[in-house]
Amino acid sequence: MELELRGISKSFAGFQAVTAISFGIEKGELFSMVGPSGCGKTTILRLISGFLTPDEGQIILDGQDITFAPINKRPTALVFQNYALFPHLSVFDNIAFGLRMHTVPRRDIKPLVKEALDLIRLPESEEKYPSQLSGGQQQRVALARALVIRPQILLLDEPLSNLDAKLRENLRIEIRQIQKKVGITSIFVTHDISEAFAMSDRIAVLNSGLIEQVGSPVTIYESPHTEFVASFVGKSNQVLGVVDSVGDGVAWARVTNSMRICFRHDNDGRIKEQLKVRLMVRPERISLVKSSTPNVNSFLGVVKLAVYLGSEVHYEVDIDGYTFIIERQNHKNPLHFSQGDRVFVEWGDDDCSWYSHTSD
């Protein structure tokens, strides 16, 4: 583990920003922190970079405790959301700034800066000033400026949030490529889950200063540990039920008279009869069929809404008063349903997950 946070807590003027945060980051991975505004992700980033110091906990980098190390002594470099380029310095001088502060000999600075400029594909921009660059170009310069001093950890604080959608998509691929090429351990903060998915090796989902889950994109999406993660990461259908039968690896929970959902569980004893559970199934895991299939969750419903979107068709189906959202890809010979049709809504027992119900 290259970077480790242990029990980090921080509060501001009575407001608890993060509580007992612990996780580890491996060398060379791009690790994202996602969550809604105010969840504490930026706070954690600033704790790692040294702009803030924690009330409790430790930050260990490569075996060294850097919890209270001053900003300029830490081997971290931050790419700011609004770039923070020095307006009075040229692109060259901006990138060279860190090198000069580290007293790199003058003759070595030029090739290093040039290489950084090539890396971000702005080789002719040395003499330009930040005000002459576009947002995307400024962001790349900020990235180069951070990378050129060869930090051990690269921190990125919502670097793409100020850019328009198209640029964001292009730049995130580029950043990921650069990060992979250089092999630098990076921490990426964003509120956009699809951005995190596109770029990360692992993701931490945060909420109100706490970690909800840490895992690879697949794990987070397919096996969310909490309701929050399930709702925040992608769309989901959620219903409440009561467990009425527990078996080996599977269990059943009754939601309504006609809806009894079968779902998988790890045999760790958490599932008991009479337990109130929340069940979640993703819209794309649901099939709509004319006649019921045996041995899967299959419930009769009425189509309330059918929206044709070209590559996809979205449905809203009512089952016993619950509205299910279903998204189907437009395959060859699609089975199109329209408003008012009666259909069977189906999914396998491994297509849904459960959480113990926390009262809302």
Partner: protein, 326 residues
């Protein structure tokens, strides 16, 4: 810069041959990081330390003199430059407020300020309106024409007016030569010249706020009004004017306050017969050296100005207009 074997690496990991220069200090030094007090950003004593010199100066040379002066106004005059600080009295105020002479001066100062304010706003508004419609470059130049006179010495400006308004000045010379008048007009050393001088000097303080409020107004509003059928005049009366009211109020308050306290221009252009409050304050404090009474005059001037301004602002912000002032 991290490198495990002391050889400097580029971003991509290609090694740069080492030079004879001292090695780049590795950020992750072998020595342990000491816990420093950097984290505690709430160092409350530091800012106050930096502020202390200025605080001291402001207190000694601003707060103290002003408060002293107010307190002194409640003492008895006991000789030039001295006062009896053993007992408080409001005699000074009584002397002022019961004297028709002094009240007359207060009234004159007030009337003069009022007229100057009205003139500045009445003239300043069309000026601002025009300025608002100018493009950036022209607007800047035009604005400079109005800002520049402010920093030019007030004595210089007053002198300029004597050139124009004196019996032998330009206006009279031209009018006499053209035969329009037979004897020179008395344009100098009276209320007229004083008002003219003050208006010119303070105009910019009406123009600036009015311009600011006009500029901050969404230009689409006027288009919307026209689209709904309003004529240019109606648009102005019902949309532009009410929305620029905050600027008008701000401008008039500035000009009024400055006029009430004006000293130099009235002294130079007003002449012996036309005295204002600030002159009395000057006279009492420097010739007669009657500090108590002199302070009282100053206090009365300030209080009077504040009261008038408050009444004015309340009146303007009342009723429907409250919405505009938020």
């Amino acid at each position: 810069m991290s490198s495990s074997n002391g050889v400097m690496m580029t971003v991509l990991g290609t090694p740069i041959p080492p030079t004879n220069a001292p090695p780049v200090p590795a950020a992750t030094a072998k020595r342990p990081m000491r816990r420093k007090a950097y984290g505690k950003r709430r160092v409350n004593w530091f800012p106050l330390l930096l502020l202390t010199p200025l605080l001291v100066i402001m207190v000694i040379f601003f707060v103290v003199p002003l408060s002293r002066s107010v307190v002194i106004s409640f003492f008895h005059f006991s000789g030039p430059g001295t006062f009896d600080s053993s007992q408080l009295t409001i005699q000074n105020y009584k002397d002022f407020l019961s004297s028709p002479f002094y009240l007359g001066i207060l009234r004159r100062t007030f009337m003069m300020s009022l007229i100057v304010t009205i003139l500045c706003v009445a003239i300043g508004y069309p000026v601002s309106y025009y300025m608002m419609q100018l493009s950036g470059r022209k607007q800047q130049i035009y604005m400079f024409c109005y800002l520049a006179p402010w920093l030019i010495n007030v004595v210089v400006k007053a002198f300029g007016w004597t050139l124009i308004l004196s019996p032998a000045g330009y206006i009279n010379t031209i009018l006499l030569n053209l035969g329009i008048i037979q004897t020179p007009l008395h344009l100098m050393y009276n209320d007229f010249s004083m008002i003219v001088g003050l208006t010119q000097g303070e105009m910019v303080f009406a123009v600036m706020p009015i311009l600011a409020s006009l500029v901050s107004m969404d230009p689409e509003l006027r288009s919307a009004a026209a689209d709904l059928g309003a004529s240019r005049v109606k648009t102005f009366m019902r949309i532009t004017l009410p929305l620029s009211l905050p600027g008008i109020v701000a401008g008039s308050v500035f000009v009024f306050t400055m006029s009430m306290a004006a000293y130099t221009t009235p002294a130079l252009l007003g002449g012996v017969k036309v005295r204002v409050m600030s002159y009395i304050a000057y006279q009492q404090n420097t010739s007669t050296l009657n500090f108590p009474f002199g302070s009282a005059v100053s206090v009365i001037l300030v209080i009077f100005t504040i009261v008038v301004v408050q009444v004015y602002m309340r009146a303007m912000a009342s009723g429907k207009r409250k919405v505009i002032f938020r």
